[in-house]
Amino acid sequence: MKLRSVALVLVGVELWMGAIGSGQSPAKAAPAKSSSQNPLDSFKNFAATLNGGMGRDHDRKIYRSGNLLRLDFDRGSYRIVDLEKGITWGVDANTCSQFMALDAGSFPFSAFRDFKFERVPTAEEETIDGHVCTVETFQLTSTDEHPRTVKMKLWGAKDLNHFPIKIEVEPQGPGANPKAKLEVHYSNVSLSAPDPSLFKHPVKCTPGGAPAPMGSTPAPPSPTTPKAPAGGTTKPNQ
């Protein structure tokens, strides 16, 4: 009985060692030259003016300090995004709301966190808004069971430590709509660390932080209500 137990242990150890060995081999064979980290992770501190992107923002001030991004909105309101935790705090004169969702203006800094980045070498240079830029292309692949690929092109300004003042993001693959290509532009870029006080939000910042409930049933539609169209898009009856 004892001998049998010892034999089982030995077989188990051998299998474990084998597993370690087989785990090491692919790592040795993996092509390291083209894989790289998310290039946007290199820019932990900056302030800029954002145009375009997922939120189609227009002349919006954006700041980054570490994992926090801040976006300024009208009437003194602002949003802070935790890129690591995927949280947005929306602050305005009336409320502070916490969302477990990424604000659209944080794209693409907040996106593709779990994607594999492969750099496609290029020697292109282009001048954008007076900045001489190197052009880099990355092929992004999601690491889930249904891999999606995205092409990301960055125009890194040489005089701004290669900060990407223009980014193009284009979903790839069969059926991907070419119109879904996004352009993001950053201007007035400063690579100095922004004032830390910009990234504070009120202590009381609750999920769904809306005003108190106002009753469960709205009044019926007003008599001036335009009638719903029969189908498709039509001009209003006004």
Partner: protein, 154 residues
């Protein structure tokens, strides 16, 4: 005792009938401070009949980018975490192609009838869903305030 049971049965029957009746809502969108946007949503919340509860949503979204057009919308009523909406509890979720021709985005409007709030998400990276804006609403279809911006225009 029999009378009480009869009364209770009548009340239950009427309650069921009332809950099965369609609800129609019309919302003019405002920001969190009550400032006007140019958008209006009409939502019909209904059931196709027993045993399906009243969770279906149909309707339209008006004035994407203040373009003066109506766009169809559809979806469901369901509970959404307060971490994902401006408000708490059930929302009427209206999915619409309203902005697709302009921005190639999938667009969702979550309307909370209890808190009089709304939240807009959209996506066009084929992967995520992004918070675009949120605010409050007033009943009915108010005339468009001149110069009022679009609720999804940031």
């Amino acid at each position: 005792m029999k009378k009480a049971l009869l009364l209770l049965s009548i009340v239950m029957v009427f309650s069921l009938a009332a809950s099965a009746k369609d609800s129609t809502y019309e919302f003019t969108l405002r920001d969190t401070g009550g400032n006007a946007f140019c958008n209006v949503a009409f939502v019909r919340n209904y059931t196709p009949g027993a045993p399906v509860p009243k969770v279906l949503v149909g309707g339209w979204y008006y004035n994407a980018l203040c373009d003066g057009l109506y766009y169809p919308g559809g979806g469901f009523k369901f509970g959404v975490s307060s971490y994902l909406q401006y408000g708490n509890g059930a929302v009427l979720a209206l999915n619409s192609p309203a902005y697709f021709s302009y921005e190639t985005v999938a667009f969702q409007l979550l309307v909370n009838t209890k808190y009089h709030t709304w939240t807009i998400y959209w996506d066009n990276d084929y992967y995520g869903n992004y918070l675009v804006n949120y605010g409050t609403w007033i009943n009915g279809s108010s005339p468009v305030v001149k110069g009022a911006p679009d609720a999804a225009k940031r």
